[in-house]
């Protein structure tokens, strides 16, 4: 049995407290009037106040970039003033205000989705291992079950955020605003799919499906430990196969609903796969990192280099798979250059150049070079280092998907963003390691457990 070390528990509480303070600061610092919004942007341009304060944790490039874009905004403002078009100036101010008000919300939403996505990716990997009857991984099943324990709280938090959007407490989803829809033919055409009640019902169905599978799979897995036959194992095999079918459909629709609908004028057919690849590779990375942590504390003695090697191979291969989908989506749109599709990448290329290209380095170039060598894949610190970069890279991936549609060129990785990451990281650590204490770390009567213990590559 695993015991949750007090230091780790304290660390998770500290992360949550610091995170809450950061999130709270983000909401307090958000402007409530057009004048305040304009003043904030002007301040940031002069290198004082908010922008500077938030700059401590961010890379220098990000700061420059943000200041540049602030500068642009400022000059627009001046143009408007010189033009004397009073109504136009107000419109611009309104837009800026919405973006700045969205900032703390989007920061929380990105982090909430990212951590939920980690445990959902692990759940998919777990179901695949069960359905494929993999012989190497049963030793890691309890680690995976521990990570998927975060799915229920994590998905519920995302659902609450969606619910708050539905109640118009924020402006993350443009199509939820009846004012906007009234003047938008395109959104009216999509209203039969993109309307708040149906949206929330769909979200509830996805979450219910995932959590139900997780609950029963865990239940059968633990029941198998003290069973006298393999019936629980067989039941788990069947529900895993069924879950994978449901997962593929629900994950794809989830990505349209929760991410693609942030920019409801844009559409892409392989988006569901793209989001899947992102969550799958980050999920596998989390399995590898938590396994290495538990092994280093002496809890998983039978896990050997070969298990880590296999996980690292998955990290390597799925990183390339993610890049393949990223590039396929980007290149098809870039090549055809159809205006209604290409605006998505134009916005990202103009305002998000560093995160947009930086994530490609972090999610592709770094893992492919670091994890290509078979000896490196067996070295724990190499896998952990690659894992940290992959996880940060996929956070930025989610950031790049959500932010341009919600805050536009006002993005910044500052206090609310980092605060949200820390809060959800603390919660994730707390829930996952708490779940790990609830059952023995090695499944006892799994038919493949002996093979897994002697797995050697």
């Amino acid at each position: 049995m695993y015991t949750f070390s007090n230091r780790l528990r304290m660390a998770s509480f500290i992360l949550m407290i610091v995170g809450v303070l950061g999130i709270g600061y983000g909401f307090l610092a958000a402007p409530s009037t057009v004048e305040e919004a304009k003043a904030m942007v002007a301040d940031a341009h002069h290198g004082g106040g908010h922008g500077e304060e938030a700059g401590h944790d961010a890379p220098a490039h990000g700061n420059e970039n943000a200041e540049e874009s602030h500068g642009e905004k400022k000059s627009h403002g001046e143009d408007d003033a010189h033009g004397g078009a009073e109504s136009h100036g107000d419109e611009h101010g309104e837009h800026l205000l919405t973006q700045l008000k969205n900032k703390p919300w989007a920061a929380v939403y990105v982090a909430a989705f990212f951590f939920m996505m980690l445990s959902l990716g692990v759940l998919a990997f777990y179901a695949i291992q069960r359905a494929a009857q993999a012989g190497w991984s049963p030793l890691l099943f309890r680690v995976m079950e521990g990570i998927t324990a975060y799915l229920l709280p994590g998905a519920v938090i995302v659902f609450i955020l969606l619910l708050l959007s539905g109640f118009h407490l924020n402006h993350l989803f443009v199509w939820m605003d009846p004012e906007v829809v009234a003047h938008d033919k395109l959104l009216q055409g999509k209203a039969s799919y993109l309307n708040v009640p149906f949206f929330l019902i769909r979200a509830a169905i996805y979450i219910a499906g995932w959590v139900t599978y997780r609950h029963f799979s865990r239940k059968f897995s633990i029941a198998q430990d003290s069973a006298s036959d393999n019936s629980n194992f067989k039941k788990n095999f069947r529900i895993s196969a069924g879950f994978l079918v449901f997962y593929l459909v629900s994950e794809s629709m989830m990505s349209w609903d929760w991410i693609m609908s942030v920019e409801p004028h844009w559409f892409s057919t392989l988006f569901g796969w793209y989001v899947f690849a992102s969550m799958f590779v980050s999920g596998i990375t989390v399995i590898a990192m938590i396994t290495i942590y538990l092994k280093s504390k002496g809890y998983l003695e039978q896990v050997n280099d070969s298990h880590i090697h296999d996980l690292a191979k998955f990290m390597f291969a799925i990183s390339i798979f993610w890049t393949y989908l990223w590039f396929s989506q980007f290149m098809l749109i870039w090549y055809a250059n159809i205006p209604e599709e290409v605006t998505y990448f134009v916005a990202r290329f103009q305002d998000y150049k560093l995160p947009f290209l930086g994530m490609l380095v972090m999610n592709f170039a770094f893992p492919i070079l670091i994890l290509m060598n078979s000896d490196y894949k067996r070295m724990n610190w190499f896998v952990v280092m690659a894992g940290i970069v992959i996880l940060l890279g996929h956070y930025i991936d989610v950031f790049n998907m959500i932010m341009p549609g919600t805050v536009g060129d006002q993005w910044f990785i500052g206090v609310p963003e980092i605060g949200s990451i820390l809060f959800f990281l603390g919660l994730f650590i707390y829930v996952v390691f708490n779940a790990l204490t609830k059952a023995p770390l090695i499944a006892k009567r799994n038919p493949f457990i002996e093979e897994s213990k002697h797995f050697h590559y």
């Binding site: 590039f327 980007f330 290149m331 870039w334 090549y335 250059n337 290509m372 078979s374």
Partner: protein, 174 residues
């Protein structure tokens, strides 16, 4: 130097593995082992150095990538930068997404083919090559281990007999 080898034949790969370990432990030099199929762990038991073919493949891949980049940069950007369907041919980077499929394929092409050719050259395989098989049964269901002899024929034969060899022959080295 003697030109003779002792050839021991086995009909089971587990027996062969044990025999290899015994012979290594007795510090006799194993010239060669002939198997009808790959025996997992045999190279390790014989103490063979790991292959470096993956490293060559990586370098061939880099070569292929360089060829692709150089070729398309010259043809599409430097030599005749036409406007083809509005694609920006002002610099390589601006038009790069369109070149990626070729960059990828040439990387794989060079890595795969040059690695295979390297393998053929290093293992001396080519059409019309004379087969170097000491006993035809080794391609079907027998395993053969060749041990070098230095005026200690009887000792080696006795050792090999203990390892469960079906048949022991003395042969000229070739």
């Amino acid at each position: 130097m003697s030109t003779k080898v002792v050839q021991a034949l086995y009909n089971d790969d587990d027996v062969l593995m044990d025999a290899v370990k015994t012979v290594k432990a007795a510090h006799h030099h194993i010239e060669e082992v002939y198997c009808p199929f790959p025996v997992h762990g045999l190279d390790k038991a014989m103490g063979l150095a790991p292959t470096r073919i993956a490293i060559t493949a990586f370098m061939y891949g880099l070569l292929g990538l360089s060829v692709a980049i150089t070729m398309m940069n010259y043809i599409m950007i430097e030599d005749w930068p036409q406007d083809i369907g509005g694609k920006p041919s002002f610099s390589y980077i601006e038009n790069m997404p369109a070149f990626v499929p070729i960059m990828f394929e040439l990387t794989v092409f060079f890595a795969a083919h040059l690695m295979v050719i390297t393998f053929y050259m290093r293992s001396k395989l080519w059409p019309f090559k004379k087969a170097e098989n000491p006993d035809v049964r080794t391609t079907d269901d027998h395993f053969l281990m060749e041990v070098a002899v230095h005026d200690n024929e009887d000792e080696v034969k006795a050792l090999l007999e203990q390892t469960g060899a079906l048949e022991i022959n003395i042969s000229e080295k070739h």
